[in-house]
């Protein structure tokens, strides 16, 4: 896989690949993100958690400009996100996203889902895109389903396809927006396993998730958000052992007592 993702597993912390500063976003009158400052180093695995409505999804959706923001700046791999369509597309070509509801293209076969962006955005040849797609499908364990359509697969399989699709363009950054929240319980682990494998490859990841086991295992940093702000961030061990804010303590109590 490492040769599929065109990046070297280097020392984490050499340079900031994402720089978010003083980010503010409103939905109408609702202040959804408040003064977010966040720097992500190349290869870093960040897990974002928090109660629903806390702005976690909104935050990562700002990173590939699926959401517009009113104040502040986001620089992704040297490109600042503005209204400029070219810059947005430049960023999107380096950043892939995995959605809560998979969002596979139902009218295309699995293999066509994977090769769409490589062929039409990255101008790869059909054959190259196809070869790579098959390799990736093999990696996520569903190579034999390549010619099927998304609706013919289980939720877990669909989400693994979605991850393979996201990887197909050799992104530098992967964004995960609650990738396991829409899955039946017995399918969560098959998706998490793929994500854990991916984390070992050294790709930069930001995951919004409630899967604390996953966070403990792979995260370099965990960020806790509430009411549109970052309340606390820490490395996994201290995050769970010594939560400082009351809100995080409450949140951890609720989520870990399940």
């Amino acid at each position: 896989m490492s040769d599929l993702i065109n990046k070297e597993v280097g020392e984490k912390g050499c340079c900031d690949i994402i720089e978010i500063s003083a980010l503010n976003k409103w939905y109408g009158d609702f202040h959804a993100l408040k003064d977010i400052d966040l720097k992500v180093k190349e290869g870093e695995i960040i897990v974002v958690c928090g109660p629903s409505g806390s702005g976690k999804s909104t935050l990562i959706r700002c990173v590939n400009f699926l959401e517009k923001f009113q104040e502040g700046s986001i620089v992704v791999d040297g490109t600042e996100l503005t209204d400029d369509v070219k810059k947005i597309r430049q960023v999107r070509s380096e950043v892939s996203m995995v959605f809560q509801h998979f969002n596979l293209f139902p009218h295309l076969s699995i293999i066509d889902n994977l090769t769409l962006a490589p062929i039409w955005v990255h101008n790869e040849t059909k054959q190259n895109a196809r070869d790579k797609a098959l390799q990736l499908l093999d990696r996520v364990g569903i190579k034999d389903q390549a010619e099927k359509y998304p609706n013919q697969l289980s939720g877990g399989q669909q989400q693994r396809v979605a991850i393979a699709r996201a990887l197909c363009t050799s992104p530098k950054i992967m964004l995960f927006d609650e990738p396991t929240s829409a899955l039946d319980p017995e399918m969560i682990s098959e998706v998490l396993d793929v994500m854990v494998e991916l984390a070992k490859e050294g790709i930069t990841m930001i995951c919004v998730t409630h899967e604390m086991g996953f966070a403990k295992k792979v995260a370099d940093r965990i960020i806790f958000m509430d009411e549109g702000q970052i309340i606390e961030e820490n490395e996994p061990e201290s995050f769970f052992k010594n939560p400082e804010s009351d809100r995080l303590k409450l949140f951890l109590d609720q989520i870990l007592s399940q």
Binding site: S93, S96, N103
Partner: protein
């Protein structure tokens, strides 16, 4: 704690006498249902025998008969036979009929060939090529030019005219409808405004008004020399009309696409055009197939309205044929025949729509 063993799966119990249970389930399941069944049977008894008598048992199938020797008890099918050419070709000159036949022949050949190369990677090229080249060929064949004698559109008529008007209306309004549907969803206010005004204006006006405008009012604005063809005016009117309806149908399809599809396409870095053509439209068109075909069926029926601006489609030919003194009073035969032909065409369209839906279905195969 008890443990329950897995149970065997059994087949569902079948009723002993299938016909009886079917009757009971479907026709006599309740008292009111039974009453409705009897009423329906009675209505069929009232209506069907006279129709069959007229069409078949009392009808005269002697194709050499003339109006007087045919008799008046039943249908006189000799009328259809002796006017068949008029029903199909209108007033197209006899010696040039091969041109119309060739035009229809080519389209059938193209369609057959197209279905033979279903798996070929060049199929899309083939289809686009057909759509670009065939109309030109068909126009030259039908209208003349390039050494062929010119046959004015006032001579076109019958089924030929019906099919030409419907086909051009369908082929031209489809892409235009897509553009207006996208325009109505556009973020650009001017584009959206123009689309909304156009669609709502046209949908608020009956087709007959548009045809009148095109044939009577429009020429008033042109100087005498600029007068252009009557059929062309009707075609433009019909296309403009149909475009608005197709646009609304496709807009319905566009609205059925979940937001996540747009987001996934955006997140992948697809441009607006690529997103629309590769991701959004294929899905929107797929869910719109039944309504699109429904709208085209309505258009096909509406083509009969060209009668009011003096074009003789197949329905109008009935009037023309029966006003001939040798076939006076045979309107019923003519209308029944035309109804059957149109029904066959429309029912085929409807079946084709079902087939298309099945072909594009990506549900559990």
């Amino acid at each position: 704690m008890p443990i329950y063993p897995l149970k065997e799966t059994r087949e569902s119990p079948q009723s002993q006498i299938k016909v009886l249970s079917w009757l009971k389930d479907n026709l006599f399941s309740s008292l009111s249902n039974a009453a409705l069944t009897f009423i329906a049977l009675y209505l069929i008894y009232l209506i069907l025998p006279p129709i069959l008598d007229w069409m078949i048992f009392d009808a005269n199938f002697d194709l050499t008969a003339d109006n007087d020797s045919c008799g008046r008890e039943g249908a006189c099918w000799a009328f259809i036979d002796s006017n068949l050419k008029m029903f199909i070709y209108g007033f197209y000159p006899q010696e040039e009929l091969w041109r119309v036949n060739t035009m229809f022949g080519i389209i059938v050949a193209l369609a057959v060939f197209g279905s033979l190369i279903k798996k070929s990677q060049y199929r899309a090229h083939y289809i686009i090529g057909c759509f670009l080249i065939y109309p030109v060929v068909a126009f030259i064949l039908l209208h003349g030019g390039l050494g062929l004698e010119v046959v004015g559109t006032d001579k076109w008529g019958g089924l030929t005219l019906t099919v030409v008007v419907a086909a051009i209306g369908i082929v031209a309004s489809f892409p235009l409808g897509i553009l207006f549907a996208l325009g109505r969803q556009s973020k650009m206010r001017v584009v959206r405004f123009i689309s909304v005004v156009y669609i709502e204006f046209v949908r608020g006006v009956p087709l007959i008004t548009i045809l009148f405008m095109a044939s009577v009012v429009l020429p008033l604005f042109f100087s005498a020399g600029m007068d252009f063809d009557k059929l062309l005016r009707a075609l433009i009117g019909i296309t403009l009309f149909q475009t608005a309806y197709i646009a609304e149908v496709i807009r319905g399809g566009l609205q059925a696409i979940p937001k996540g599809q747009y987001e996934a396409a955006d997140a992948a870095g697809l441009s607006f055009m690529k997103k629309t053509v590769l991701v959004i439209l294929p899905q929107a068109l797929k869910v719109s197939i039944p309504n699109i075909v429904g709208s085209f069926i309505a258009l096909f029926k509406d083509t009969t309205l060209v009668l009011i601006i003096g074009l003789f489609d197949m329905l109008a030919i009935v009037g023309a044929a029966t006003s001939n003194s040798s076939w006076l009073g045979r309107d019923t035969e003519g209308y029944v025949f035309v109804a059957m032909v149109i029904w066959v065409i429309l029912y085929s369209m409807s079946r084709y729509s079902k087939k298309l839906e099945a072909r594009f279905s990506t549900e559990h195969k």
